[in-house]
């Protein structure tokens, strides 16, 4: 049965991570999910709003949730960008407080009744599609490709907002990659921070953090790292050339969006998956 979800791509998926947007849409189509982009969506406020204008940071995602609930009349929204997802979940959590809700209502111009489930990329495959259904749809299974599932920060933290089962050692992405024939590896840096937007200003720190994460993935036997966040992908993939310049013995490791792995497994073409947009070549592991 076909399901319909509202879709909030966010600025990164329209910017540096076009392949995330394309592969997510294509995988959803192959899985009979209808995605309806929120018309005229505005930025969720990202990292900047909550450290400059706290009320706006809450109001921006709630404004989008109100559109989904009252204009689109849908009960779930897919938010594949982990940073946007976090802002949506935080906004929804904060308007549970009556005083905040009143201020937010004044900013947004209407009340949000709380009727929309916010789903990140993993939730879409794990819950909206379901693991059994996903496994049944696989036409090109991976044959035991070893994947380090990297969750980063905001898919699970803070747990009072995300309601993640285990914020220190999440496993839902591992379940999803297993359903498409990959072998998730047990590793230590699943939820460590990649440096996020410090990549714009403090590249040395990001190179340290990225090296540590990827070294552990390699030491634990991974052939590739799977991600569900555009910023994690840009950092883990993009910083490797600079890390290699500083350390000539560096062994590169491909960093792939979960939507590209799922898309390939359910028969989406390589072109639609944007496999050539990565700085560390992913063709060999996706073959």
């Amino acid at each position: 049965m076909s399901k319909t979800l509202a879709y909030y791509p966010g600025c990164s998926l329209h910017g540096t991570s076009g392949e995330f947007d394309a592969s997510f849409r294509a995988s959803a189509r192959a899985l009979d999910l209808t995605l309806l982009e929120i018309p005229g969506w505005d930025c969720c406020g990202n990292t900047a709003a909550h450290s400059i204008n706290r009320l706006l940071a809450t109001a921006l995602p709630v404004n989008e949730l109100a559109k989904v609930e009252q204009d689109m009349k849908l009960d779930a929204v897919a938010v594949p960008c982990a940073a946007c997802y976090s802002r949506f979940k935080t906004g929804a959590h904060e308007v549970e407080d009556a005083e905040t809700a009143a201020d937010v209502r004044a900013v947004v111009g209407r009340a949000y009744a709380g009727g929309v489930t916010v789903q990140n990329l993993i939730d879409v495959y794990h819950d909206a599609v379901g693991l059994e259904e996903l496994a049944a749809r696989v036409t090109r299974p991976f044959r035991g490709l070893k994947i380090a599932c990297y969750y980063g920060c905001l898919l699970t933290r803070p747990p009072k907002v995300t309601l993640a089962d285990d914020p220190e050692y999440p496993t839902h992405m591992d379940d999803v990659v297993r359903a498409i024939g990959c072998e998730p590896v047990d590793w230590n840096y699943k939820t460590d921070c990649c440096g996020a937007s410090l990549a714009l200003t403090e590249q040395g720190i990001v190179d340290d953090l990225v090296s540590r994460i990827l070294n552990d993935a390699k030491a634990c036997g991974a052939d590739a790292v799977a991600v569900a966040c555009p910023l994690c992908q840009v950092n883990l993939d993009g910083r490797q050339s600079e890390i290699l310049r500083k350390n000539s013995s560096w062994q590169t490791i491909p960093v792939i969006f979960l939507s590209q792995l799922v898309g390939r497994a359910v028969g989406v073409s390589d072109k639609e998956l944007g496999l050539k947009k990565h700085l560390v070549d992913i063709a060999a592991v996706m073959a």
Partner: protein, 201 residues
């Protein structure tokens, strides 16, 4: 050299009214610092920030770059045994630092956050290309780091130079309303605090 030390007994209270968190609950177990990905890169670290907030040590908090290195990864908030939302306190300190003109010179992230904010306020959506261009204009030294990665990303088609605007009218209205409500709330809290102290000072 004379060492000055600016102290404000109101710092913890101001943080509390801004973000609703009680800094006095911290008993210095340092779990926040142990898990912090950037604690190694500045003189201060999360537990020290919490102590400095309790003591009202403005210079310790605002002269150091730590709060501007915080990525908002929420590890401290997740692990705090006292349930303090430490990341929210760091955010509030960023708001106070900006308001009081206390951003240190070695904190490029403070500039970047504002460029980012201005970009989505202007267009309804954050425009990455604009962000990078304005950053280079403001911080010419940053051009070197952009050149190390930018051309490679462009060749791969990773950079989308175009911008699709959001609903700029709605954005403008929400920015203005949120600013005026925040200002009114702050005034109300300040009046209440003044009434509480019986008009002293």
């Amino acid at each position: 050299m004379t060492t000055t030390c600016t102290v404000s007994p109101l710092l913890a209270e101001n943080v509390g009214t801004g973000c609703g968190e009680n800094a006095y609950k911290c008993y210095q177990c340092k779990r926040c610092t142990s898990g912090c990905p950037v604690a190694l890169y500045s003189d201060m670290h999360p537990a020290m920030i919490m102590r400095a907030v309790q003591l009202g040590q403005l210079d310790m908090v605002f002269d150091d770059k730590f709060i501007w290195l915080c990525t908002g990864c929420e590890t401290c908030t997740t692990r705090c045994p006292q349930g303090i939302d430490i990341a929210a306190i760091i955010d509030e300190l960023k708001i106070i630092a900006r308001r009081d003109g206390r951003i240190p010179a070695d904190a490029p992230s403070a500039v970047m956050l504002k460029l980012n904010y201005d970009s989505f306020v202007r267009w309804g959506r954050m425009w990455e290309v604009e962000l990078i261009t304005r950053d280079v204009l403001k911080r010419p030294t940053s051009v070197k780091s952009w050149l190390s990665l930018g051309p490679k990303m462009m060749l791969k088609g990773k950079i989308n130079p175009t911008l699709k605007r959001g609903n700029t009218m709605a954005m403008k209205r929400m920015v203005q309303t949120s600013e005026s409500i925040t200002k009114a709330n702050r005034q109300r809290q300040a009046d209440a605090a003044a009434a509480h102290t019986g008009g002293e000072s």
